[in-house]
């Protein structure tokens, strides 16, 4: 009679660097989104209402800029922390998963970009404003990167089966 021995979940042995980067990116994005939401909530309430809340008033362009910069830092940090190291194997299944994830991410990006452009037109047209402000470019670019990276990360995790061992 054979006895199946289940080893405890091992993060290092079970996941490759693509999965680790995907988890890191999604968690860091979520924390940054929640932090941004909290700041907006604090600023929009009558309690500690302060346009210079922690010097990061998100209703000001510099606040938005700093918030977006954190997203860029997360993307760069994820690439740096979970890069391919000596000894890491990237086999054909990993490349297939990466290719499909890129397709999913591109689809999500174009959908988000279309919705953002439609939203701009629908917002500005009733106000009879022909051209959006220059600062809108920043959120459009960073938002596009965030959508692309998030969709890529989700696609990677879905295809790997959320890190299940599949045994």
């Amino acid at each position: 009679m054979t006895r199946t021995v289940y080893e405890p979940f091992n993060w290092e042995k079970t996941m490759n660097f693509l999965q680790k980067k995907a988890y890191f990116t999604l968690v860091a994005f979520a924390i940054n989104l929640i932090a941004g939401g909290v700041i907006v909530a604090v600023l929009s309430t009558d309690g500690p209402r302060n346009p210079e809340f922690l010097g990061l008033g998100v209703n000001q362009i510099r606040g938005y800029g700093l918030w977006q910069a954190v997203f860029l830092v997360i993307i760069v940090l994820g690439d740096f922390l979970f890069r391919k190291r000596a000894g890491d194997i990237l086999d054909e299944r990993d490349r297939v998963i990466g290719g499909k994830a890129t397709q999913w991410a591109m689809t999500a990006f174009w959908i988000a970009f279309g919705v953002a452009c439609a939203g701009l037109i629908l917002t500005l047209a009733p106000l009879k404003i022909a051209l959006p402000a220059v600062w809108v470019i920043g959120p459009l670019i960073v938002g596009g990167l965030v959508v692309f990276t998030s969709a890529y990360s989700v696609a990677v995790l879905v295809q790997y089966g959320y890190g299940k061992r599949n045994e």
Binding site: N16, I89, D91, E92, R93, V96, G161, N166, E167
Partner: protein, 79 residues
Amino acid sequence: MNKDHIANTIRRFRFDHGEMTQQQLAEIVGVRRQTIIAIEAGKYSPSLPLAFRIARAFNTTVEEVFQYNGNAAPPRKDS
């Protein structure tokens, strides 16, 4: 999504070859253990080169290791 299913007998071949572990087979054919797990479970269909490498690891043919269960279209007759 491809509805064709490719069954395999990798698990049986591993045990017939001195209870070879998934890690050992992965190292022989040059992939990660998770890829062998996915192939064994039928969740990933390997490329032809990888299928040949796996078959050669067991000193057998691809047909012995992998079985195609899909509805293959008949060959086209141009004449």
